[in-house]
Assembly symmetry: C2
Homo-oligomer: 325 residues x 2
Amino acid sequence: MRINKYNHLSEQDIIYKYLQRLNFKKLESFNFKNDGAFLFHKLNQDIAITNDTIVESIDFFKYDEPESIAQKIVTCNLSDLSSMGVDPYAYTLSLSIPNKTNHVWIKKFTNKLLYLQKKYNFFLLGGDICKSNQIQISANFFGYIKNKHIITRELSAINDDIWVTGSIGDSFIGLLLKKNKINIDKKLQDYFLQKYLYPTPSMIGSQLINYSKSAIDISDGFIGDLSKLLNGNLGADISYAKIPFSRNASILINKKLISSKKLMCGGDDYELIFTSSVKNEFLIRALANKNKTKISKVCRIIEKKGIFIDGKKIHNINNSYQYFF
Amino acid sequence: MRINKYNHLSEQDIIYKYLQRLNFKKLESFNFKNDGAFLFHKLNQDIAITNDTIVESIDFFKYDEPESIAQKIVTCNLSDLSSMGVDPYAYTLSLSIPNKTNHVWIKKFTNKLLYLQKKYNFFLLGGDICKSNQIQISANFFGYIKNKHIITRELSAINDDIWVTGSIGDSFIGLLLKKNKINIDKKLQDYFLQKYLYPTPSMIGSQLINYSKSAIDISDGFIGDLSKLLNGNLGADISYAKIPFSRNASILINKKLISSKKLMCGGDDYELIFTSSVKNEFLIRALANKNKTKISKVCRIIEKKGIFIDGKKIHNINNSYQYFF
């Protein structure tokens, strides 16, 4: 807004050279020529909305690659949409960047956005550009969804199965590497750093809409997010053997380089935890096969409050908290 | 998100003590218990979307009152909606605040949001809370609008009248006062500071939908925003006598304490500039009366490019720029 003068880069440059190509010439964006945008009414379709913001030195490191930052703002929002059973349609972007930001940064950042827009099929509606002393990026994502077909967080039942997509904890090991808190060989380093810097959302959500009434994405550690899913009213008894650690994470656990508890309590995996009636097991396994995705049944919902691993209560060692709010 | 620990204030405090009351218990917010929110489908209604972000030390001063900051994030978004002919329905809020932020600040900030939500009839869908070293607030606002009834920026015709709501330039004088760049008596100071710190949006937009096909809100100075409305293709010949300065601004102009040009080129007035066919003049004057709002006809659109005041071309002395982007 307003006093937007960049030493190296004008607001016009950012808009016309880099951002305009992201609107895919969709009518709804007014080609960025109006004070806002709009979403067309579609018969019997509600619109799901997410909002996530990432801030330099909090959600990413000061000199992280612009491509990694683009990946993160998209992934955290897509993952929220997916947890509601929704595919993305469009988004708004609020981009706050320091004066010194240059063409190379913006080009790399928007190239990655373009790549992800094509991969997941959504476009840019519009947004705002501001000057700030930290990089800070906020996005609202929108997706159409058949009336009342949103996966909510209210309806888990005792004995429902709890499933997790993908692997958990890899991103957290990448974070420890960035902080120089773990020492492992180069090949493993590359694997975990990639998982931390370029997390990918589990986009299976929209296919779960008939099987699951309760889901959450892992943006705050598996245990913490599972607690939110249980909503303080129910419990889960997990078999340790069924927790989906990656092959590489298992190597580190076996070498005692990292505790499994830390991996369960930390990290932005952007995988989904969801509950489903026992009768859907076969259908969910078929869905996993069809999508070539790992989906693991880790436990059932129990009446006793709390999360238990092989019968022993586990306390979350990561006190952070996140809702929408 | 994530590492959100406040010395004085937890994320839970912010959500449950201060923000939850802003969702008016509307279903669409899931009472902040899901990863996102949604907007119901309404028959034949599209959804207009705006996004504005305000940043400490850019859009407001470091120690400005929290009520003023709340007023600004609401006003700049409502004003954008109004310029498209849309009334607000709901919004998302991304709130980035420093560690030191305390209960008093959050209480005052959210009390003002609550007041404005009741005044203009909208509620909070959800959002995100982050830690940052500057206060930075981003909001997306949403409003329902009958299919294709959005006021756009494309359809002005030569000879259409150009109208402005309210007065222009008062907010800019308030800004000069904040910067100690103008010296005037206390009573006038209070008037202009109020206009700068607590700007109100002109919400007449939704009533203009049948009279105007092109409108913009003044968030970047009257001349600059009029230029955007003219889109580089058309011109306007303004009669100086018709420019709606407030009585107090006229006092300063007459005393040569400020130039009228500066008042025309600067300031976030959040009034609307709109164009309308000559035949609508009577109807627009009736609308102004009905709403007890000042609406002034300042000029007509001419073929010759540029903005002229009594025949003399005026150059914008404020080079800032703003679209959605």
